[in-house]
């Protein structure tokens, strides 16, 4: 049998019909999927990308300024600082000049222990090396509160060795 005969026979005999209930079943599954709309990214894509980059840089700058100026609290941070104070159980009469309680200066060893217990990966803990001196850790809100309590305690009773400044950012 020639190659052409094989090709012809495959074309004639090979096609199969999908089961009649296949398409309705697929569409039932499709209907169960959550509704979605196309994003308007294509038109605004380049602008949005630049805006996202600019926002990220601004946020990074803000975070660094918060770290650097632990002694002065900006008005924007005051509400979150108040919330954090409440979470830590601080007294209402605490002096307003105190550094934001989401930033703690603790012994490097204590910080490593507390963050490791909180599930921060060892790779990130390398930032606790003495030459870095400061670290920002974004943690789930509930875990962040517990970590902040421990860091506050460690700050009150500082251990020996080099110190690091740890900022905890609670995230949703």
């Amino acid at each position: 049998m020639s190659q052409d005969d094989i090709a012809r026979r495959l074309r004639e005999e090979g096609m199969a019909q999908a089961p009649p209930d296949l398409a309705p079943e697929v569409m039932r599954e499709v209907a169960r999927e959550p509704r979605r709309r196309q994003r308007s990214w294509p038109r605004w894509g380049p602008v949005a990308a630049w805006a996202t980059a600019a926002a990220a840089i601004a946020a990074g700058g803000f975070a660094l300024s918060q770290l650097g100026g632990a002694g002065s609290s900006s008005s924007g941070a005051s509400s979150s600082a108040a919330a954090t104070r409440a979470a830590l159980g601080a007294t209402a009469g605490a002096p307003s000049a105190a550094p934001p309680p989401s930033v703690f200066t603790v012994a490097s060893r204590d910080a490593a222990r507390i963050l490791q217990d909180a599930g921060v990966s060892p790779a990130h803990l390398s930032f606790l090396a003495p030459h870095h001196r400061r670290i920002v850790a974004a943690l789930p809100r509930r875990r962040a509160q517990s970590v902040m309590r421990q860091l506050a305690a460690a700050q009150r009773n500082p251990g020996p060795g080099p110190k690091v400044r740890v900022r905890i950012v609670p995230r949703r």
Binding site: I6, P19, L22
Partner: protein, 195 residues
């Protein structure tokens, strides 16, 4: 496939294609609507391609049940992926590739978990011509690399370039594999006839 439903208007923009009966609308226009969440447009694509997709999965896996699962999962995956479908490739090639990957996965799973003998014997469904065609039996026994090329080019009628795009192979490789697949099929049928 030949239903003459006119798609409902959506939004302010109304491309010319929306005034045509569904069977006249190109895949790309339906895919663009489906990407915006239009299930009616996606349903038309499903109806349009289901036989070819089912044939691809059936001839590659050799199992009716697997073929059905592959097409169903593939089409649902395609629906989920519609917003990412940019139209660089044809919708047809894109969805065939998704179903083919599912078919490869099904074959892998079957290799890892051998089926009982009675299930293997019942693989060919009653209405499937492969139960009585010597050629399709020979095709089912062909190595996967050759089988899939024969299915794409000879059964589904794809060009070498289309099959190459589907299988992510150069057209030259598709051509040589197709030649060898046909030769092996001819040989298998000849030996079967001789016995």
């Amino acid at each position: 496939m030949t239903s003459a439903i006119t798609l409902p208007r959506a939004g302010r923009a109304r491309p010319w294609a929306y005034d045509l009966p569904v069977h006249d609308i190109a895949d790309s226009a339906l895919a663009a609507r489906a990407a915006r969440g239009d299930t009616a447009a996606f349903e038309q694509l499903v109806i349009r391609h289901q036989d070819r997709l089912y044939t691809l999965a059936l001839r590659v896996t050799g199992s009716d049940a697997d073929a059905r699962d592959c097409v169903q999962e593939g089409l649902i995956a395609a629906w989920r992926g519609m917003p990412r479908f940019r139209g660089d490739a044809q919708f047809s090639t894109w969805v065939h590739r998704i179903v083919l990957r599912k078919a490869y996965d099904a074959i892998d799973q079957r290799r890892r978990r051998p089926e009982p003998v009675e299930e293997v014997a019942a693989v060919a469904p009653a209405g499937d011509p492969s139960a009585r065609s010597d050629l399709l039996r020979a095709l089912a026994g062909l190595e996967l690399d050759f089988r899939v090329v024969a299915v794409a080019c000879d059964i589904l009628g794809m060009s070498m370039e289309e099959a190459g795009e589907l299988l992510e192979l150069p057209a030259g490789t598709v051509k040589s594999r197709l030649h060898r697949a046909r030769a092996r099929l001819a040989e298998a049928i000849g030996s079967e006839a001789a016995t």
